[in-house]
């Protein structure tokens, strides 16, 4: 774990750059992480997924599975992979300032 500066804010991140304290997150941080991970501009659709991930995590303490994401976020699986080609669940969690999803699904 290390403290780093994202969008001029000091945040605690793990080895892979996931925020370890969701409370340190804000939208500017989200946009900076997205840019760094190959998404130049977060669209409304990206935000829909990111917010769903974040809210679900804050409510249940667990990030949703890709199955739940596809069924319940309002964005179907195919589009999820178009929005986040390098892994929707992982990347949306990173951008949303929550820990890396631990599930296998």
């Amino acid at each position: 774990m290390a403290t780093t500066l994202i969008a001029d804010a000091p945040v605690d991140v793990d080895d892979e750059g996931f925020l370890t304290d969701p409370a340190q997150w804000n939208e500017a941080i989200a946009e900076a992480i997205a840019r760094e991970n190959g998404i130049p501009q977060l669209t409304d659709r990206h935000w829909l997924v990111v917010r769903f991930m974040r809210e679900r995590y804050l409510a249940t303490g667990m990030a949703p599975s890709i199955r739940a994401l596809g069924k319940e976020s309002g964005v179907p699986v195919k589009e999820l992979y178009e929005l986040f080609p390098k892994g929707p669940a992982k990347l949306a969690a990173k951008i949303g300032g929550i820990p890396k999803p631990k599930g296998c699904i």
Partner: protein, 168 residues
């Protein structure tokens, strides 16, 4: 006097990431098919490309007439920890399958048909093994729409260039 032979030095390259996996599915039981599907899904979730190559009874996972009826093997399966004769009792396989499906649902693992659809939507590519398809007298129409092509082993290796091959 002994002379020490110089050991060849491995070049200390940084461990690279896996970019692609080619997973062979050769078994047709529920516990034979799931690991491959879970590994393919896990690969896509990490941004890794994934091909699934179905051969022998693994083809059951993509056969329209069978993929909704995949069962746990209760006979000849030491992992069940029940005597073989109990495993052979009519309805046992059905019961074990129901129980496993219930557990899978609890941890959010979809049933095989939904899983196949999820993987297709995730960009996993599906192929059927030509030798087995010919042996069983099947054709592309017998498979779910996610199956792109019937390919030979040679073509499988060609497609798998640079990939990690996983046999299940």
């Amino acid at each position: 006097m002994t002379e020490l032979l110089e050991q060849p030095h491995e070049t200390t390259a940084k461990p690279t990431t896996i970019e692609k996996v080619s997973i062979v599915v050769s078994k047709g039981s529920l516990e034979g098919i799931y690991p491959a599907l879970i590994m393919a899904n896990g690969a896509r979730m990490e941004g890794i490309d994934a091909d699934l190559f179905f051969t022998f009874f693994g083809l059951d996972a993509i056969r329209k007439d069978r993929f909704e009826k995949i069962k746990v093997a209760t006979v000849g399966n030491p992992g069940m920890h029940i005597p073989t004769w109990i495993g052979a009792v009519p309805g046992m396989s059905w019961l074990a399958t129901k129980m496993m499906q219930r557990q899978m649902e609890k941890i959010d693992i979809p049933p095989v048909p939904e899983f196949v659809e999820l993987l297709g939507d995730s960009g996993v590519r599906f192929f059927a093994c030509k030798a087995t398809v010919d042996m069983f007298g099947l054709s592309l129409e017998d498979f779910v729409p996610q199956v792109e092509e019937i390919i030979s082993v040679g073509e499988f290796y060609e497609r798998s260039a640079g990939a990690e091959i996983v046999f299940t």
